[in-house]
């Protein structure tokens, strides 16, 4: 059948396309590391929560909130993408007491892909 003879050609052409330079894509942004670290217990209350991602973030659509154990918001409401490092999402914190704190983040990469997540840290 004709399809059998054309299969190698179609596959070759498709592979050639895939080998072409990618568009200016930044893909989904996933967290790389954070301060305080995910699941960490810290002895000194942190003044900020900072999360570094593996790609640039869109500042207008990237947010971070921090809640205490009772669900009360303890960040200063100033969550933002750092102007000089677009992979960094950060927010200032009020004076934290010992307890477990929950960080919720939602970010949009420059190509429009949204990712979101959360984690906890504990102040001893």
């Amino acid at each position: 059948m004709k399809i059998k003879h054309q299969r190698n050609l179609v596959f070759g052409l498709f592979l050639a396309f895939l080998c072409s330079p990618p568009e200016a894509a930044l893909a989904h942004a996933f967290p790389d590391h954070s301060d305080p670290r995910v699941g960490a217990t810290v002895s000194a209350p942190p003044a900020m929560v900072r999360i570094w991602f593996d790609g640039d973030l869109e500042p207008a659509f990237s947010t971070v909130r921090v809640l205490d154990g009772s669900g009360k918001r303890v960040d200063k409401g100033d969550g933002h993408v750092d102007s000089s490092d677009h992979t960094l999402l950060e927010a200032g914190l009020t004076a934290l007491h010992p307890g477990v704190y929950h960080v919720y983040w939602s970010v949009v990469a420059w190509d429009g892909h949204r990712t979101e997540g959360d984690y906890t840290f504990t102040v001893k």
Binding site: R7, A27, F61, D111, G117, Y119
Partner: protein
């Protein structure tokens, strides 16, 4: 402020405005990849994914098959899936098979072309759940005579994926686990050929998930983007002489997921003598087309 800096600020403002307009017109939770909430479901080796996306895979498989010679099978599987709508797409599969033996006998050629459609009808972010239904058709007679069948097979199936991220804090180290699976019959179009049931599932433990959402245990690259995967692809004959007989393998392996591609390797251990007597190997190379070409080939035709 210099002209360049001002120009850059205006460019960025315009890009933000454009992105805002685009985001208002499309769902923010992009259905690309196998994402459900925080959960990233990787493409695995032999068990079909529960999600639809724009992706391209090459899977190499080598195993000694049971039965008469030639029985050393080396196969290069090629898969391409394309979204037509954000949650509906088509899938194409073909494979080049080489059958070799210790003696003189050998055969090789393309297997039958398979075409499928899949509808991802549920994505639940909170419970990290994905459900899909689909149908795959192996088109008989499109492969080489030596290695493929002249009859076709129609395979409707139900697909699922579930992450355990909704477990309570006390079970937080279990949260990185996820399961995916597929269940469905295979109907041959030639009368007399046996009907079979595919039941296959995967058990996954995501080091990405552990590191990013549960506990930073200090894993560096490349381990912080790895997912431990064990597959259980099984098939049970439903009638004819083979009624009730099950064949399958257990495939323990590991997958690394980067920003644009996925790499994986797994062993392939037959579950019984009907499935084989030797351990095989699987190697996966996978491209995220939706991330590589987000504005052309990688987006749904009707977004």
């Amino acid at each position: 402020m210099g002209n360049g800096q001002r120009h850059s600020r205006w460019t960025r403002a315009l890009m933000t405005l454009g992105l805002a307009a685009a985001l208002l017109m499309m769902p923010l939770s992009a259905l690309a990849h196998g994402l459900a909430g925080k959960r990233f479901f990787p493409t695995t080796f032999q068990v079909d994914d529960p999600f639809i996306s724009d992706e391209f895979s090459i899977l190499y498989n080598h195993i000694r098959q049971p039965g008469d010679e030639p029985n050393r099978a080396s196969e290069i599987n090629i898969d391409y899936s394309k979204r037509i709508l954000p949650n509906f797409g088509l899938e194409f599969h073909d494979a080049y098979l080489h059958l070799g033996s210790d003696g003189d006998g050998s055969a090789n050629g393309w297997e039958n072309l398979e075409v499928g459609a899949k509808w991802q009808f549920l994505t639940n972010d909170e419970h990290e759940a994905i459900l899909s239904v689909g149908t795959d058709i192996e088109i008989g007679g499109t492969g080489a005579h030596q290695v493929s069948d002249s009859s076709s097979t129609i395979s409707p199936a139900f697909f699922f994926g579930k992450g355990l991220g909704d477990l309570p804090e006390s079970a937080r180290f279990i949260r990185p686990f996820a399961i995916t699976g597929v269940l469905g019959p295979n109907f041959p179009t030639r009368s007399g050929d046996p009907i079979s049931l595919t039941w296959a599932f995967t058990l996954q433990y995501s080091l990405m998930y552990l590191q990013s959402y549960v506990k930073d245990v200090g894993l560096g690259a490349p381990f912080n983007r790895m997912i431990l995967v064990t597959e259980f692809p099984m098939q049970t004959c439903m009638n004819a002489d083979c009624n009730g007989q099950t064949t399958g393998t257990v495939n323990p392996g590991i997958v690394w997921a980067g920003k644009f591609m996925e790499l994986g390797v797994a062993a392939q251990i037959p579950i019984n003598s009907r499935s084989g007597n030797n351990v095989g190997i699987l190697a996966l190379f996978h491209l995220f087309i939706d991330d590589l070409f987000p504005r052309s080939l990688g987006r749904p035709i009707f977004p």
